[in-house]
Symmetry: C2
Subunit: 86 residues, 2 copies
Protein backbone atom coordinates (compact mmCIF):
# COMPACT_ATOMS: atom_id res chain seq x y z
CA UNK A 1 0.00 0.00 0.00
CA UNK A 2 1.33 3.40 -0.94
CA UNK A 3 0.76 6.59 0.95
CA UNK A 4 0.60 10.23 -0.06
CA UNK A 5 1.06 12.88 2.63
CA UNK A 6 -0.48 16.32 2.14
CA UNK A 7 0.47 19.24 4.41
CA UNK A 8 -1.79 22.28 4.60
CA UNK A 9 -1.00 25.44 6.60
CA UNK A 10 -2.87 28.70 7.17
CA UNK A 11 -1.54 31.45 4.90
CA UNK A 12 1.03 33.71 6.65
CA UNK A 13 -1.26 36.76 6.51
CA UNK A 14 -4.19 34.85 8.08
CA UNK A 15 -4.61 34.99 11.86
CA UNK A 16 -4.22 31.55 13.43
CA UNK A 17 -5.97 31.60 16.83
CA UNK A 18 -5.25 27.90 17.53
CA UNK A 19 -1.54 28.39 16.90
CA UNK A 20 -1.56 31.58 18.99
CA UNK A 21 -3.23 29.73 21.89
CA UNK A 22 -0.57 27.01 21.74
CA UNK A 23 2.21 29.62 21.55
CA UNK A 24 0.84 31.31 24.69
CA UNK A 25 0.42 28.02 26.54
CA UNK A 26 3.94 26.69 25.93
CA UNK A 27 5.97 29.07 28.16
CA UNK A 28 3.24 28.88 30.85
CA UNK A 29 3.80 25.12 30.93
CA UNK A 30 7.57 25.40 31.05
CA UNK A 31 8.43 24.99 27.35
CA UNK A 32 10.63 27.99 26.56
CA UNK A 33 12.33 29.05 23.36
CA UNK A 34 9.50 29.22 20.83
CA UNK A 35 8.62 32.54 19.26
CA UNK A 36 5.44 31.62 17.44
CA UNK A 37 3.34 28.60 16.51
CA UNK A 38 1.18 27.96 13.45
CA UNK A 39 -1.24 25.04 13.36
CA UNK A 40 -2.18 23.35 10.11
CA UNK A 41 -3.40 20.01 8.85
CA UNK A 42 -1.73 16.82 7.71
CA UNK A 43 -3.55 14.27 5.57
CA UNK A 44 -2.44 10.70 4.90
CA UNK A 45 -4.04 9.28 1.75
CA UNK A 46 -3.72 5.50 1.40
CA UNK A 47 -3.34 4.19 -2.13
CA UNK A 48 -3.87 0.64 -3.35
CA UNK A 49 -0.57 -0.31 -4.96
CA UNK A 50 2.23 2.12 -5.68
CA UNK A 51 2.14 5.90 -5.75
CA UNK A 52 2.38 6.64 -9.48
CA UNK A 53 2.97 10.11 -10.95
CA UNK A 54 -0.75 10.10 -11.93
CA UNK A 55 -1.84 9.39 -8.34
CA UNK A 56 0.46 12.16 -7.12
CA UNK A 57 -1.05 14.57 -9.67
CA UNK A 58 -4.59 13.58 -8.59
CA UNK A 59 -3.58 14.08 -4.94
CA UNK A 60 -2.17 17.51 -5.81
CA UNK A 61 -5.47 18.57 -7.42
CA UNK A 62 -7.47 17.14 -4.51
CA UNK A 63 -5.20 19.00 -2.07
CA UNK A 64 -5.90 22.32 -3.81
CA UNK A 65 -9.68 21.84 -4.01
CA UNK A 66 -10.90 19.45 -1.29
CA UNK A 67 -8.23 19.25 1.40
CA UNK A 68 -7.54 22.98 1.65
CA UNK A 69 -9.46 26.22 1.46
CA UNK A 70 -7.38 28.25 -1.02
CA UNK A 71 -8.70 31.53 0.40
CA UNK A 72 -7.05 31.02 3.78
CA UNK A 73 -4.71 28.03 3.39
CA UNK A 74 -1.64 27.00 1.41
CA UNK A 75 -0.82 23.45 0.36
CA UNK A 76 2.72 23.22 1.71
CA UNK A 77 3.60 19.81 0.29
CA UNK A 78 2.18 16.76 -1.48
CA UNK A 79 4.61 13.88 -1.34
CA UNK A 80 4.98 10.13 -1.68
CA UNK A 81 5.49 8.79 1.85
CA UNK A 82 5.22 5.08 1.07
CA UNK A 83 8.69 4.41 2.39
CA UNK A 84 8.10 6.08 5.76
CA UNK A 85 7.06 4.10 8.81
CA UNK A 86 3.63 5.21 10.06
Amino acid sequence: MGRVVVDVMPKPEILDPQGKAVANALPRLGFEGFVSVRQGKRFELEVEGDVTPEILETARKAAETVLSNPVIEDVVSVKDASGEVA
Copy 2:
Protein backbone atom coordinates in the same frame (compact mmCIF):
# COMPACT_ATOMS: atom_id res chain seq x y z
CA MET B 1 14.97 31.90 12.50
CA GLY B 2 14.78 28.15 12.96
CA ARG B 3 11.67 26.07 12.65
CA VAL B 4 10.57 22.79 14.21
CA VAL B 5 7.76 20.85 12.54
CA VAL B 6 5.63 18.50 14.64
CA ASP B 7 3.27 16.01 13.00
CA VAL B 8 0.43 14.48 15.02
CA MET B 9 -1.97 11.80 13.72
CA PRO B 10 -4.94 9.98 15.27
CA LYS B 11 -3.91 6.53 16.51
CA PRO B 12 -4.71 3.75 13.97
CA GLU B 13 -7.32 2.17 16.26
CA ILE B 14 -9.15 5.48 16.75
CA LEU B 15 -12.03 6.34 14.43
CA ASP B 16 -11.30 9.43 12.35
CA PRO B 17 -14.62 10.91 11.17
CA GLN B 18 -12.97 13.89 9.44
CA GLY B 19 -10.69 11.62 7.44
CA LYS B 20 -13.60 9.32 6.62
CA ALA B 21 -15.65 12.27 5.38
CA VAL B 22 -12.78 13.34 3.11
CA ALA B 23 -12.31 9.75 1.86
CA ASN B 24 -16.00 9.58 0.95
CA ALA B 25 -15.98 12.99 -0.73
CA LEU B 26 -12.94 12.36 -2.97
CA PRO B 27 -14.45 9.83 -5.45
CA ARG B 28 -17.71 11.81 -5.52
CA LEU B 29 -15.70 14.81 -6.72
CA GLY B 30 -13.78 12.82 -9.32
CA PHE B 31 -10.61 12.01 -7.39
CA GLU B 32 -10.22 8.25 -7.74
CA GLY B 33 -7.58 5.88 -6.42
CA PHE B 34 -7.52 6.56 -2.68
CA VAL B 35 -8.51 3.77 -0.30
CA SER B 36 -8.62 5.70 2.96
CA VAL B 37 -7.75 9.08 4.43
CA ARG B 38 -6.61 10.03 7.93
CA GLN B 39 -6.53 13.64 9.05
CA GLY B 40 -4.04 14.87 11.62
CA LYS B 41 -2.32 18.06 12.66
CA ARG B 42 0.88 19.80 11.69
CA PHE B 43 2.51 22.41 13.91
CA GLU B 44 5.25 24.82 12.89
CA LEU B 45 7.16 26.15 15.91
CA GLU B 46 9.35 29.17 15.16
CA VAL B 47 12.57 29.42 17.13
CA GLU B 48 14.78 32.47 17.62
CA GLY B 49 18.18 31.40 16.34
CA ASP B 50 19.10 27.87 15.41
CA VAL B 51 17.34 24.63 16.29
CA THR B 52 19.66 23.14 18.89
CA PRO B 53 19.39 19.57 20.25
CA GLU B 54 17.96 21.13 23.46
CA ILE B 55 15.24 22.97 21.54
CA LEU B 56 14.39 19.77 19.68
CA GLU B 57 14.15 17.89 22.98
CA THR B 58 11.90 20.61 24.43
CA ALA B 59 9.75 20.43 21.28
CA ARG B 60 9.53 16.65 21.64
CA LYS B 61 8.28 16.96 25.23
CA ALA B 62 5.83 19.72 24.25
CA ALA B 63 4.59 17.54 21.36
CA GLU B 64 3.81 14.67 23.74
CA THR B 65 2.06 16.81 26.35
CA VAL B 66 0.62 19.98 24.79
CA LEU B 67 0.38 19.45 21.04
CA SER B 68 -1.13 15.98 21.14
CA ASN B 69 -3.59 14.03 23.26
CA PRO B 70 -1.67 10.81 24.01
CA VAL B 71 -4.93 8.90 24.57
CA ILE B 72 -6.06 9.26 20.97
CA GLU B 73 -3.08 10.66 19.02
CA ASP B 74 0.48 9.71 18.11
CA VAL B 75 3.32 12.16 17.58
CA VAL B 76 4.52 10.99 14.17
CA SER B 77 7.56 13.22 13.87
CA VAL B 78 9.39 16.15 15.45
CA LYS B 79 12.00 17.54 13.11
CA ASP B 80 14.18 20.51 12.37
CA ALA B 81 12.71 22.13 9.25
CA SER B 82 14.81 25.30 9.23
CA GLY B 83 16.18 24.54 5.79
CA GLU B 84 12.79 24.07 4.15
CA VAL B 85 11.05 26.88 2.33
CA ALA B 86 7.75 27.76 4.00
